[in-house]
Amino acid sequence: MAVGLAAVLTLGVGAGCAKQESAASDSTEIPIGVDIEKSGPASVQGEAYERALKLVARQINANGVKVGNQTKKIKLIVRDNKSDPAESLSVAKSLIDNDNVAAIIGGGASPTTMSIVDTVEAKKVPLVSMGSSGAIVQPIDKRKYIFKTPGNTPVIADVMLKQFQRKGIKKIAVLSVDNAYGAAGLKAWQDLDKAGKIDLVDNEKFGDKDKDFTVQVTKAVAKHPDAVVVWAIPPQAGIAAQNLRQAKYPSNQVYFDTGAGAELFVKGAGSASEGMYMVHSRVLAGDQITATTPAAQAEKKFFTDYSRDYGNFSGFAPMAADALSLIVQAITKGGRADRETIRDSLEKLTFDGAFGTYQFSPTNHGGVDESSLALLVVKNGTWTLTS
């Protein structure tokens, strides 16, 4: 039976599309795999990633990529991992084995990255992830090929901590989504709590498909924290904002992580988000940036381009945009488009991207530095820089 079916498929499908020749070095296209969340709970991110990647690829391909003395084009191979770690692994394997990609961008979140790091590392393929969990790039001796664009979770927590210290906030409660991403956020605050830098009075988790956190919010608010920190992506970040507003918790004491950063947060939370804070790259307030430094110029340009092409801006877009830019930079600097060169070259890269400034080194594969991050606040329905 299996043979019969196999034969039919071979005849019907196989004849026309026998596996393509692996991308030889003289090919004019550089295949880059993209493993992102086009569907499932994190699909909001996936959509922004894909738009950003297509935008950047278009801009890069307009002039081509200088590889040694040749000019090549980027070919993106975008695959959906359904926000599912196991599926992400299957996607990554397929990109490596089938499409023979030079590098992979993805997964778009921590859970879908954690599942593939071992495989990608073993197959020696450079990977740039949009997941924020520190475990993605650590321990560094087992993550030689793995890089990421978002800042490390503790770095983001640190930005919030500084604000808390300025405002005299001592007791906080953390609401986090129950997956690898939320767990990393929670752990960062638990570590700060242990170090005596903050008093974590309560932490509450919710499932990544839940749509109502009234109970978690009620419990957290009952502990009278000076601030509530939320580690969630849209649409859940928006629901958390709404539930906090319903519980009459003051919105100027609510802080979100970079993960919340998208137009959908404001859309989902509606007026409830007004006055709430978020740590994100300055790019989210792109229209307010005065472009004096190269870093600020890159941020502003991306904000303008993306907003022009797609109507509104997404906080996730720059993370993916930079992932691609970083790989292209590495290819140009290294002068070759093979996997080893890209990896070696990435590790030495300093780059001003749309999301912020990257300073990779053999001991640091972990995303934008603290200087790129800012505290933003929702004012009249848009993200505004504080101070």
Binding site: K38, S39, G40, P41, S43, V44, E47, D178, D202, N203, E204, K205, F206, G207, K209, D210, K211, D212, T214, V215, Q216, T218, K219, A222, P235, G238, I239, Q246, A247, K248, L264, K267, G268, G270
Partner: protein
């Protein structure tokens, strides 16, 4: 105490939707013998359609009407095209057919609408009322009020109309009903439509609280199922009580789990379901019925 009251209020609101889903499942099970795993998809269809149309600027009552009609139409397709002669079929086969239908409904919704959630405005504006420290948003009131109206209407339908009697008669003894000139096929169609409408209404009232997306059906269907089984699949009232109880237990338990364990709250509904299945598979309320007869 304030917290407890808040948990109960919240649980009651979600429980109302579980109750509507569970009621649909119980009615279908009784009248047609079909165990439908597709019931949650009607909540999705109702909620998502409503939110989508409302976002597009359609007046809420009109959006709700369209959503209900759409869900009912899908109910008809399910009953007529996917499950014809379901009564005669084997249970395992019909269960799998409803699973297949549920997957297809979700898939089509994904193609048409995409994966993003959609946001419906609360039925009326206004901020949360505080009653002794318990926060009650106007939408909570709407959920409870509409659910109550629907349940009363269902009760009247089942006890005061000939169609209602015919449905109950078919549930009690399908052959005898047939001998009285009642068409089981008609009753099956009617009950699927009624169940679809119940689910859609549950989805609509919940939409402003829990922004619906194409993927919510499975989880809500399972919760509704748990509600129906906990209450006892044999009686509609059981499903309603089971749904409300499930919603409240779920939230209260989540509320009293310490923070480190609050992740376990997801499992509460299913742990309760498993317990009922292991201890009293005919449902908690069935005990009352046996003792009364």
């Amino acid at each position: 105490m304030t917290s407890l009251a808040q948990f109960v209020v919240t649980g009651f609101t979600t429980g109302a939707t579980y109750a509507l889903v569970g009621l649909g499942i119980a009615l279908i099970a009784q009248v047609t013998g079909v165990i439908s795993f597709a019931q949650g998809e009607f909540v999705m269809l109702g909620g998502l359609t409503f939110a989508l149309l409302e976002e597009k600027g359609l007046a809420a009552p009109l959006a709700a009407l369209v959503a209900i009609v759409l869900a009912c139409a899908v109910g008809v397709v399910l009953e007529r095209l996917v499950l014809p002669r379901a009564r005669a079929g084997r249970t395992d086969q019909t269960i799998m057919l409803t699973i297949g239908a549920s997957i297809v409904i979700e898939g089509v919704a994904l193609v048409v609408v995409g994966t993003e959630p959609h946001f419906a405005r609360p039925f009326t504006k206004g901020s949360a009322l505080s009653v002794g420290g318990v926060h009650i948003t106007p939408q909570y009131v709407w959920v409870v009020a509409i659910t109550a109206v629907v349940l009363v209407a269902m009760w009247l339908l089942l006890t005061r109309t000939r169609v209602g009697w015919a449905m109950r008669a078919t549930a009690m003894d399908a052959e005898a009903a047939q001998l009285s000139g009642i068409s089981p096929s008609r009753m099956s169609l009617i009950v699927f439509v009624v169940a679809a409408a119940l689910g859609a209404i549950g989805g609509i009232v919940l939409a402003p609280l829990q922004s619906p997306d194409a993927g919510i059906g499975i989880a809500l269907g399972l919760k509704g199922f748990a509600a129906a089984v906990i209450g006892g699949l044999g009686r509609p009232a059981g499903a309603v009580v089971g749904g409300l109880a499930l919603g409240i237990v779920e939230r209260v338990a989540a509320g009293y789990l310490p923070g480190d364990f609050s992740g376990y709250s997801d499992a509460i509904a299913f742990a309760l379901l498993l317990l009922v299945l292991l201890v009293r598979p005919t449902g908690l309320l069935s005990a009352l019925r046996v003792e009364r007869v």
